[in-house]
């Protein structure tokens, strides 16, 4: 028996699978934010019929690392840098985050300045020693670090990605002197991110040192709670899972654990049904995550969390502050704005009846009759429509519109924000959204998917059978992923590429060993070798799979991405990578026979747009069923809105496919 467990801020979602063509079961319960391991256990007991002792594997998506960073509740840590560079984290890239701000602020660094220390040593860019490590001075620094009583120590020296000796000497000294008691508490930049750009590397190593003790403790609690025979895996931001023990080495790789699980779940379900080029729309109460997968997930290494650069490979997920709880207001210039301020869960949207008075996106949907007043969240919550109407009437008064038109306007403004996020992950990366299917999930995704698709001419929308538990599904389906990279920085030539091909054997051996440790058999292993390449003089690399003519492949990719190639220019290779995948056995998904037929609505109601809206129950819809908009499809954890001019049909995998007529 295997289970996927996604613990979010409000709900804990579980999906289980008993192997060999068995059944999938789904369960949802409220999270216990103080003791997440309790939510996991309670959920597992509910979903595993014979008791949790029969569990073989649990895959988990966690927000623990993310929350520790956002709330600045991570470990007490110190930073050691090369002499002359103790303020790396404070100067950053020297810019301010906002251009027109009379009193600009920067995100609070994770390590205070008084715990940042300089170590006398210096390498040059080739890794040659300009100044040897001064051990006596190091000892004096370590005296002071000892007095700081830290949980972990981050070390980031210049050029450690070429020559790691000094960092390793420092680590050895720290352990010899017992400044910290376990070796994983010393976090070296040459181990976490052996790549150039000192601030981004220092920021990444500080993030790792900040969350590693927290994640380590959390994983320890989970492992104690779970039966000894079951193995725990954690979702990483790149969409793969790793065994829980690895978290003590790669804690920061879980920063986007939950959202990545959603993307992987969406991709798996969509590709089984024949849609392997997708854009995901995961819309919740406070925010929306948008990501693009073109044939296979392609993680990128340029992102940030709470304004702090994080350079580990993560799925390219764009998050914006637009969700059901986003507040709508009229600004000083008379324009209607939606978000990023959110009513949160408490008081929440006005229709929750918990005292919220400001109009939100959920209120707008409620006014337009798109939320099921009787069965909202499976009947667990009654909607207070009159409170929603009061909130929108006030907004309508300010802009001089009817309440219904105002509600539509609120949705339209939220959609344009989503539109911009989708452009960011598609057009700005050289992908045409018209070649993709939009996969909508999260509580509010299926309500807004068609409108989002219309703005970008996306031809079709797919709503999976259980859009509210897609992250848990993604956990159950995710493969084990390992990655090894090495900064190489050299000019691309036939000779250098041949030499790199040889040195990749070492990365490959390490990846193979790691997968074996994860219990993956040789037949289930897949490896992809690639190079990060750029024209000499550029700062951004393109990741090119290692094939017959990688240099030509790079020119072609540059042309596709930027519209021009410069075949006369020298090409540089920056990083060499090997990605290993351990294929996990997936639930067999066979298509049911789909007999085309017109679906029967269980009712209808007057649409505020004029005409009637047909009402459908998702669980009544059989494969092959189809119907035209305007329609609403109700199910326990989500509502799908099918606008006029759209048609819905159910495929053999029970997905709801929406297409423009």
């Amino acid at each position: 028996m295997r289970a996927g467990v996604d613990i979010g801020g409000t709900f804990t979602d579980l999906v289980s699978y008993d192997g060999d063509g068995g059944q999938l079961s789904i369960h949802k319960l409220l999270s216990d934010p103080q003791r997440p391991e309790r939510s996991m256990l309670a959920g597992l007991e509910a979903i595993v019929p014979g008791g949790i002792s029969g569990l073989e594997q649990v895959a988990h998506g966690s927000t623990v690392a993310t929350n520790a960073i956002l709330e600045r509740k991570g470990a007490r840590t110190a930073l050691l840098t090369s002499a002359g560079f103790r303020d790396l984290l404070f100067i950053g890239r020297q810019d301010r985050p906002t251009l027109y701000d009379i009193h600009p602020r920067i995100p609070t660094p994770l390590i205070p300045r008084e715990r940042c220390y300089e170590v006398e040593e210096r390498l040059d860019f080739r890794g040659e020693v300009l100044q040897p490590l001064d051990l006596a001075q190091l000892d004096r620094v370590l005296e002071r670090v000892a007095a700081d009583d830290v949980d972990s120590i981050a070390v980031c020296l210049l050029y450690s990605y070429v020559n790691r000796n000094h960092e390793q000497l420092i680590k050895r000294r720290i352990l010899e002197r017992g400044i910290v008691d376990e070796d994983w508490r010393v976090v070296l930049s040459s181990e976490v991110l052996p790549e150039f750009r000192e601030y981004e590397r220092a920021s990444t190593v500080a993030l790792e040192a900040y969350v590693r003790p927290v994640m380590s403790r959390y994983i320890g609690e989970l492992e104690t709670a779970l039966p000894a025979a079951s193995s725990l895996r954690i979702m990483k931001s790149d969409g793969g899972v790793m065994r829980a023990g690895r978290v003590r080495r790669q804690a920061i790789h879980t920063a986007l654990s939950g959202p990545a699980a959603g993307v992987m779940g969406a991709f798996h379900l969509a590709s089984v049904a024949g849609h392997d080029r997708i854009i995901t729309l995961d819309m919740g109460g406070t925010s929306t995550d948008v990501a693009l997968v073109a044939g296979e997930p392609q993680p990128r290494a340029e992102s940030a969390i709470d304004g702090l650069p994080l350079r580990v490979r993560m799925l390219d997920i764009k998050t914006i502050g637009a969700g059901g709880g986003s507040i709508a207001r009229v600004d000083a210039g008379g324009a209607l704005r939606v978000g990023p301020e959110s009513a949160g869960a408490n008081p929440g949207p006005a229709v929750y009846g918990l005292g919220g008075v400001q109009a939100t996106l959920s209120d707008a949907n409620a006014i337009l009759g798109r939320l099921d007043a009787e069965r909202f969240l499976g009947g667990n919550m009654a909607l207070d429509l009159s409170a929603g109407e009061r909130a929108l009437a006030e907004l309508a008064r300010q802009i001089g519109y009817s309440v219904v038109d105002t509600a539509q306007g609120v949705i339209e403004v939220a959609i344009v924000n989503i539109d911009r996020a989708i452009r960011h992950v598609s057009i700005a990366r050289g992908h045409d959204p018209r070649d993709f299917t939009l996969v909508a999930f999260g509580g509010a995704g299926p309500l807004h998917a068609c409108a989002a698709a219309e703005g970008l001419d996306i031809p079709g929308v797919l709503v999976p059978p259980a859009p509210g538990v897609l992250c848990a599904m993604g956990l159950l389906l995710a493969d084990v992923a390992v990655e090894y990279s090495q900064s190489v920085i050299c000019r691309a030539s036939v000779e250098s590429i041949a030499a790199l091909r040889e040195s990749q054997e070492d990365l490959l051996a390490r990846a193979r060993h790691e997968l074996r440790q994860e219990g993956i058999g040789a037949e289930a292993m897949r490896f992809v070798a690639s190079l990060d390449m750029r024209y000499e003089g550029q700062a951004f690399e393109l990741n090119i799979p290692f094939g017959a003519d990688v240099i030509e492949a790079f020119h072609a990719e540059h042309e596709r991405t930027y519209g021009h190639a410069m075949r006369w220019r020298e090409v540089e290779i920056i990083n060499s990578r090997v990605n290993g995948i351990g294929k996990i056995d997936k639930p067999e998904m066979a298509a049911l026979e789909a007999n085309p037929h017109e679906a029967a609505a269980f009712g209808e109601k007057r649409s505020p747009l004029g005409g009637q809206t047909a009402l459908y129950e998702r669980s009544d819809l059989k494969p092959g069923a189809s119907f035209a908009g305007e329609a609403l499809v109700y199910q326990m954890d989500s509502t799908t809105y099918v606008p006029p001019g759209w048609r819905a049909r159910v495929d053999g995998y029970m997905n709801l496919l929406l297409e423009r007529v």
């Binding site: 600009p104 009229v330 210039g333 802009i399």
Partner: protein, 532 residues
């Protein structure tokens, strides 16, 4: 509050604001990623914007404030210089007296058509690390424009889609690093292709007339919001005087005098009384003065006003002809864009502080600390340009930021690991300058110390300010510390002037200590020990 001031509805104004901004943003992303010089790809010293057919700015991708208020002049100059436009044209220019600001900033402008009608322009401006001139990096201690590099009047670099290879070759041949120039100019052209096609798509999707109507509405919207900000400033006349410290030829005070007249929803800023045109490189063309003044007005808004032509309308700027804020051709101007622009901001904010003492921060570092270096690394010629941040002024709301760029610039630093890999330089120290911020109830932010070691002989040019006159404090706060430029030869330190150029040897070092920000308010503990 007045009702919605705009002629279109509250909903679609927000929709089109995002659509236009997305065009400029995508141009910027393309330019950054395809570019070659550290100055563009690492430091993001560029801007992109969308204009209407009347050369009014509709939307911008926010990068560098000094670019944005001065780009309208570029589009106007392109329109004036060209009899007609065709699809696929790209105009290039850098002449400060015809739409430019200083020669390293090369601006491109291309028309976007709807059917047969010219409807919009997209524009990009990027700071190119070398465009020729007296010293590597094209920021020399010059006395006339001709010494600052190649002058490009508005001309078509692309005609109906065909490259003007001759013009390209001429521009590139005048740079000390031609291969990098080609790459960066190509990246700008790539950004234009993206911008042109996105705008065309937008007109197809939303209709030509509706798009135009909403562009107009966006201008009205920003104008209305800017007027609301000005209306909150008490009516009156406010004066302030600050000064530059020298023109690169000699050290002397060049006063900047601002008189601000606020009346209802309009603001007039008159710079009469400022110093006459200088012999050296600190002259600033009027586009820069307007840009810096508009920036100050935009700063006063709490609401996120989209920066476009509408923000500029309520703020009138007067610069007396023949002053160093409105120089006559061919006066040297290269530092007007970076240094004089910062002092204009200090002067305008200083005047506004009298009207809004609780809102305006003390002076920030007030200089970009421009560092240019160039020479030969073996047979290869190299050129490099960068700027340094420092301490921000404190305000009623808290301490000033340390080690960051302020006001008219927001370029990033070049990572030391990227810089040393591509140039024969070594950065020995890069840290905050402790206790350089001005004391006060809230402290000014600290400056930066950056120490460079040359690995080969090279020409170094520094253009900096606030080496003699410190950034002012406000409401009783102390001024920040002045910056300091030091050259270390054979172990011996020499303090050099704020603007300095020298040919140095291998092993020599340049140490730049940047100014701290001014403090705000009286520190209670300090006040207690002062008798009386």
């Amino acid at each position: 509050m007045k009702g919605a001031p705009v002629s279109v509805d509250a909903i679609s104004i927000e929709v089109f604001k995002n659509l236009f901004a997305a065009v400029a943003e995508e141009m910027g992303l393309t330019l950054q990623r395809a570019s070659f010089s550290p100055n563009i790809r690492e430091r993001l010293d560029f801007s992109c914007a969308v204009f209407d057919a009347e050369a009014r700015m509709i939307a911008q991708a926010a990068h560098i404030p000094v670019h944005l208020g001065s780009m309208p002049a570029s589009v106007a100059a392109a329109v004036e210089a060209c009899d007609e436009f065709h699809p696929g044209d790209v105009v290039v220019l850098n002449d400060p007296y015809h739409g430019g600001t200083h020669l390293p900033d090369i601006t491109m402008i291309s028309p976007v058509f709807a059917g047969g009608d010219l409807s919009y322009f997209v524009a990009s401006r990027a700071h190119h690390a070398d465009v020729g001139g007296m010293t590597p990096g094209s920021a020399p201690l010059s006395t006339e424009l001709y010494q600052e590099g190649i002058i490009i009047p508005p001309l078509k670099l692309r005609l109906s889609g065909w490259m003007n290879e001759g013009a390209m070759a001429l521009i590139v041949a005048n740079s000390r690093n031609p291969a990098e120039r080609i790459g960066d100019l190509e990246a700008q052209l790539a950004a234009h292709r993206i911008g042109e096609s996105r705008l065309a798509d937008m007109m197809i999707e939303h209709g030509v007339e509706s798009t135009a109507e909403h562009a107009n509405a966006l201008l009205e919207y920003s104008r209305y919001m800017t007027e609301a900000v000005i209306a909150r400033i008490p009516d009156g006349v406010y004066r302030f005087r600050d000064a530059m410290e020298g023109d690169g030829q000699r050290e002397y005070e060049l006063p900047i005098q601002a008189q601000i007249e606020v009346s209802g929803e309009a603001m007039r800023v008159d710079f009469s009384g400022s110093a006459p045109q200088a012999l050296g490189n600190v002259n600033a063309v009027p586009a820069i003065v307007r840009s810096a003044t508009w920036y100050c007005a935009r700063l006063l808004s709490e609401e996120d006003i989209p920066v476009n032509h509408g923000c500029f309308q309520p703020v009138a700027v007067t610069t007396p002809a023949g002053s160093f804020l409105n120089p006559r051709f061919p006066a040297a101007v290269v530092v007007g864009n970076t240094e004089t622009s910062q002092r204009i901001v200090d002067t305008v904010l200083g005047a506004l502080a009298q009207a809004l003492p609780q809102d305006i921060p003390a002076a920030s570092l007030g200089t970009m600390n421009n560092f240019t270096v160039g020479g030969f690394d073996g047979d290869d010629q190299f050129v490099y340009y960068e700027t340094l941040g420092g301490g921000h002024g404190a305000s009623n709301r808290g301490d000033g930021l340390s080690g960051r760029h302020c006001h008219m610039t927001n370029t990033l630093n070049t990572p030391v690991e990227a810089l040393e890999y591509s140039l024969p330089l070594r950065v020995r120290r890069y840290h905050l300058r402790d206790d350089s911020g001005g004391a006060g109830f809230h402290r000014g932010g600290d400056g930066i110390v950056r120490e460079y070691e040359l690995l080969v002989p090279a020409t170094v040019t520094i253009n900096s300010e606030r080496r003699l006159r410190p950034p002012y404090g406000l409401s009783g706060g102390a001024p920040g510390q002045c910056g300091l430029n030091i050259i270390r030869r054979d172990g011996e330190d020499t303090v050099v002037s704020g603007k300095h150029s020298a040919y140095l040897g291998a092993g020599d070092r340049v140490i730049i200590e940047t100014p701290g920000g001014g403090g705000w308010g009286v520190n209670q503990s300090d006040a207690e020990v002062i008798p009386g």
